[in-house]
């Protein structure tokens, strides 16, 4: 080995980035070359001296400050604040009860029954009550205008009931639908429509995030890429926006990249999202 090559390898040798064979070759050279050995010694001294820099402890308030941040996030996420004395239990609980926590966050309103049969029964009761009231308040036969209005209202109620039966009340059911789509090897086009609709309008952040996850596996479809990009600016949740940014950032898609860049200068966008965009831009999208 010549001195020039040895000198080039010395920093790697000092920092522990040489493989065994290269170390052996270099050390053979150092044993025979005083100049390179002296340089190796100088670099080693610098390296070891750096260890003199003291490690400082965190100030007393740091943990408290972080606890407050954590509580804020838990409140926003609606996450359970279960604490475990054993982290292993907590990790396991986190894995297995993630669905349970999501379910707890997304229970329907207390008065609305969970079972579809009960939902249907309650809806029939409401319909019957409405019809009965309407019959009781029926106008003169000659007054067709009011009857026409009532008919329209009954029809509207029937339509609402039909929609309720088609659209599950709880987000767990909606997540279950998304999970079913995920399992499909080749989801049909309506499945993507469902996912994109969920991404845009589902009230649950978890459902929207799940939709992003599944859609991210199908970025070869133009409709998926377009849908993800178009939903970006209208999202109310910072988490969903960040998930979308991460999904779109990896694409070779100028429109997607422009949509991401636009977020950085939009004052309506959550500061955390804007900061994330700037970080992403720093990594050259």
């Amino acid at each position: 080995m010549k001195c020039r090559e040895a000198q080039q390898r010395l920093p790697d040798y000092t920092t522990g980035n040489l493989n065994d064979r290269a170390i052996e070759e270099l050390e053979r050279h150092l044993a025979a070359c005083a100049a390179c050995a002296a340089e190796a010694s100088r670099l080693r001294s610098v390296w070891e001296r750096l260890a003199q820099l003291p490690e400082e402890e965190l100030s007393a308030g740091m943990h408290t400050r972080f606890e407050e941040t954590l509580e804020q996030h838990e409140a926003e996420a609606g996450a359970g604040t279960e604490r475990f004395s054993d982290d292993r239990m907590a990790v396991g609980a986190g894995r297995t009860s993630a669905v349970k926590r999501k379910r707890a966050r997304t229970e329907p309103a207390g008065w609305w029954p969970r079972r579809p049969v009960m939902q249907f029964g309650l809806a029939l009761v409401i319909l019957a009550a409405g019809l009965g009231l309407g019959w009781h308040l029926r106008p003169d036969p000659g007054n067709d205008g009011d009857m026409g209005t009532l008919r329209a209202e009954v029809q509207h109620l029937r339509n609402e009931l039909a929609r309720e039966r088609r659209s599950p009340a709880s987000s767990v059911d909606r997540l279950s639908i998304i999970s079913d789509i995920r399992q499909m090897e080749r989801p049909p086009a309506p499945a993507f429509e469902t996912l994109l609709r969920a991404l845009v309008s589902d009230p649950s952040v978890n459902v929207r995030l799940a939709a992003v996850d599944v859609l991210a596996d199908h970025l070869d479809r133009q409709t998926v890429r377009d849908g993800l990009r178009e939903s970006l600016s209208g999202q109310s949740s910072a988490m969903v926006q960040i998930a979308l940014i991460e999904t779109l950032a990896g694409l070779d898609d100028p429109q997607g990249q422009r949509a991401i860049r636009d977020l950085a200068t939009d004052d309506r966008v959550d500061p955390a999202v804007r900061a994330h965009v700037r970080w992403r831009l720093g990594r050259s999208l």
């Binding site: 010694s41 001294s45 003199q52 943990h63 838990e74 996450a79 279960e82 982290d87 720093g282």
Partner: protein
């Protein structure tokens, strides 16, 4: 029972077990603080940066992948927080300034004067490196990271990191000699 690894804890946080981020804070906040302190020489800014980094990890938890390595992910976020601070300071002051010289905590007049002088000198020497070189040498020296990992965190080629570390070592060696420290 073995304690869960950082990766497992972070996966659980990703799935909704937010309190476990507190465990990760206990494990890593101090090392992050010292990284920032050696980058900025500013205690208050370093504390803020630690908080910011953990806050961002919570917000971006859904970006943590099954094949992520927790420490690399954490330092990637930490690095971007530091970059944002530098940009903000540059914007506010027109140039990047390091914090004022750190007074020694708990130092007494009887403390080892030579030792304190050397620490002061080390800080000054590190401060004279560019931020990129300083970051590379700190991650290599204090986090025991290989070039490949530092490159992943910094988002640049391995060769770039290698060059930064090489130059940082050579620059420090020269600065030591200029200041009259014999390095042998």
């Amino acid at each position: 029972m073995d304690q869960p690894r950082d990766h497992e804890l972070m996966l659980a946080v990703r799935e909704g077990a937010l309190p476990l981020m507190g465990r990760l804070f206990e494990r890593h906040a101090r090392r992050l603080y010292n990284f920032f302190l050696r980058m900025t020489f500013d205690r208050e800014a370093s504390e803020d940066l630690v908080q910011e980094t953990f806050r961002r990890m919570l917000e971006a938890r859904h970006t943590y992948r099954d094949d992520s390595r927790f420490v690399a992910w954490m330092f990637t976020i930490a690095r971007s927080r530091h970059s944002d601070l530098c940009r903000k300071r540059r914007h506010q002051r027109g140039e990047v300034e390091l914090g004022e010289h750190l007074p020694d905590r708990g130092a007494t007049p009887d403390a080892d004067f030579e030792k304190r002088r050397e620490v002061m000198f080390l800080r000054t020497a590190l401060g004279r490196l560019s931020a990129e070189k300083r970051e590379a040498i700190l991650l290599s020296r204090f986090e025991n990271m290989k070039y490949e990992e530092i490159a992943q965190i910094a988002g640049c080629p391995v060769g770039t990191i290698k060059a930064r570390v090489h130059h940082a070592l050579k620059d420090l060696s020269r600065l030591f000699r200029e200041q009259g420290y014999e390095v042998s």
